[in-house]
């Protein structure tokens, strides 16, 4: 209950600060799509992501744990409180229906691999994420593929190293099936 009340309070605070131009979600929407629902396969959706995941990602871009030509300069000037405001805003936006069509053979195989490689243990039974762990159901396909490969190569930071560690057991061809499967999942 407290969490919900806090989220509302943050969202209200956010609209005031946005008016003052501090952390404008419209800037994010230019790449991440309206309300954070991306239409670019290479750019992740922010809508309906756990707030802590968004704030943690912005933090890692600013601090240099994660590096990206677009995101690093975007995150650089943001203060922690502004990151929290943006996170609260996008966490509240509903996810758009998944546009990606998984290959028929990926659906069953993907679900089996997700179980086998413990994806659901952190990302949740419906892959909606929790706390600092992202929603991957219905996430953009190219983005998922890229991130999975970077985790596998041990060059993509996550806050506790768990994803890097978890993915070492997954061979490259299974990564492809997982990305295809997850991108086609509805986020609900």
């Amino acid at each position: 209950m407290t969490g919900r009340r806090n989220a509302t309070a943050l969202a209200v605070a956010f609209f005031f600060s946005a008016a003052a131009g501090a952390a404008d979600p419209n800037l994010c929407a230019a790449c991440h799509g309206d309300n954070g629902n991306s239409t670019n396969p290479a750019v992740p959706s922010l809508a309906a992501q756990p707030a802590q995941f968004i704030s943690t990602s912005l933090y890692m871009f600013r601090e240099g744990n994660r590096k990206d030509d677009q995101m690093t300069p975007m995150a650089k000037p943001l203060k922690n409180a502004e990151m929290n405001e943006l996170a609260a805003y996008f966490a509240k936006q509903p996810a758009a229906p998944a546009k990606h069509q998984s290959k028929p053979e990926s659906v069953e195989a993907g679900a089996a691999l997700a179980k086998k490689y413990n994806c659901s243990q952190c990302h949740g039974p419906r892959m909606l994420g929790q706390q600092h762990i992202p929603r991957i159901a219905g996430q953009q396909y190219e983005y998922l593929r890229t991130q999975l490969r970077l985790f596998k190569a041990q060059t993509r930071a996550d806050i506790d190293g768990n994803m890097t560690s978890a993915i070492q057991a997954v061979p490259p061809q299974d990564l492809e099936v997982l990305a295809d499967y997850l991108a086609g999942l509805e986020a609900k």
């Binding site: 806090n6 912005l58 190293g161 560690s165 978890a166 070492q168 997954v170």
Partner: protein, 411 residues
């Protein structure tokens, strides 16, 4: 050769079972998880790295015994971990996942937080002594002399000792740092996984004379200690230790340990024997717990004892004098959660430790929820006035606990 063939086959035909057998490690926190628990959804919690404002949190629900008061001392210190107090009143605060060391200074009645060191490699351990701030990163300890006179430009510091983490393995690579009464720096080198055979320098408590830079072993068989202090009367070293995960909700206990001054190097059992009495199902098969030194007290299963301090301040009542206060970060590897509080242990004149008793509670709101808490105690610091600071890395907040005797009553 067989292994090479297996890898090639796995790669060509995507047989994941073979790929795993060929040496791909499980995530470090899942290492040692038995097949019977493969469906478990228990997972570690991560701090809010951008911090949360105390105004948005139920800090007024925190509970302390009658006569005590708890208040927010400072917030906006992302992932506040270990604390150290300077001679001139600067409060230093460290990070574990973050890369910073902060200074909290009072300015015109307000507390100001400034980042004094950045780009550090898991700088969890900090201690202040004789004008110098010592910082333990994952692989080395550095010293920053005269730090309080140059908080805005502390410089690069000088290396006290390096090469403390030659394997760069996952697992417990962050360090706690304490200054011994002998002028030596004491710290842990954690086990590189949940339940693994450590190297000769891992799963230990070590010390180094900052003037010499030579490593000395204090204790071994210690899975991971992230809190230690010295009994002000006897000078004995006491430390907390985290036992292994994935042996069930009620086994084994995290522990409190004592190493007497000039003691031979004790072996506390890891990875063979846990809590002094429980053989490990894998590593303990052909061993006996009788071989190993015993803990001084069991603290609770998976409760995650972190920072600990002997209380010798002047503010708390006599009952609390000489107690060890322990910050319980709280369990994740347990279906019914416990901890997320500060507890105290009484030590009698023979050095015997009592069972832990709750002191500061209220961070845990639902023992079966995920997450079960809104805050997590990490370290304890006794201020010069006898009040106590408690850091909370989940939110980046520091709380202050003080005591005022009721009117007409002597403390």
């Amino acid at each position: 050769m067989k292994t090479t063939v297996a890898v090639a086959v796995a790669a060509a035909f995507a047989i994941p079972a073979l790929a795993q057998q060929a040496g791909s490690p499980p995530p470090s926190w899942q290492q040692g998880k038995p097949a019977a628990m493969s469906e478990s959804t228990l997972h570690p919690f991560a701090p809010h790295m951008t911090g949360r404002s105390s105004k948005d949190l139920p800090v007024n629900t925190l509970k302390v015994p009658a006569g005590f008061k708890v208040e927010v001392y400072a917030d906006g210190i992302p992932e506040a971990r270990s604390m150290a107090m300077g001679d001139k009143g600067t409060l230093f605060v460290s990070n574990r996942n973050g890369k910073n060391v902060y200074a909290v200074v009072s300015k015109g009645g307000q507390r100001e937080v400034k980042t004094i060191l950045s780009g550090q490699d898991a700088p969890n351990g900090i201690v202040f002594s004789k004008g110098t701030l010592y910082v333990a990163e994952r692989g080395r300890i550095k010293r920053y002399d005269g730090i309080e006179g140059k908080l805005d430009s502390p410089g690069e510091g000088k290396v006290v000792i390096d090469n403390l983490d030659p394997n760069r393995a996952a697992g417990h690579f962050w360090k706690y740092l304490a200054m011994g009464p002998d002028g030596k720096l004491y710290f842990n080198i954690g086990a590189p996984g949940n339940i693994v055979l450590p190297s000769y320098m891992e799963a230990s408590i070590m010390r180094v004379d900052p003037g010499k830079g030579t490593l000395e072993t204090v204790a071994i068989g210690v899975r991971n200690s992230v809190g230690m202090d010295f009994n002000p009367k006897t000078k004995d070293l006491w430390f907390t230790n985290h036992a292994r995960d994935w042996l069930g909700d009620d086994s084994p206990n995290d522990t409190l340990h004592r190493v007497a001054v000039k003691s031979p190097v004790p072996h506390f059992g890891y990875p063979f024997c846990h809590q002094g009495t429980t053989l490990d199902p894998e590593f303990g098969k052909n061993r006996s717990c009788a071989e190993f030194a015993k803990p001084s007290q069991l603290l609770g299963t998976h409760i995650a004892p972190l920072g600990m301090k002997f209380y010798s301040g002047k503010m708390f009542p006599a009952e609390y004098q000489g107690n060890i206060f322990i910050a319980m970060h709280g369990s994740w590897n347990r279906t019914v959660k416990q901890g997320y509080n500060v507890m105290r242990v009484k030590i009698d004149e023979n050095g015997k430790a009592s069972k832990p008793m709750p002191f500061l509670t209220g961070f845990m709101t639902d023992e079966k929820a995920d997450p079960p808490m809104w805050g997590r105690p990490v370290d304890i610091l006794v201020m010069r006035d006898g009040s106590m600071l408690v850091s909370d890395d989940y939110n980046g907040i520091i709380y202050r606990v003080s005591y005022a005797a009721p009117a007409g009553k002597k403390k």
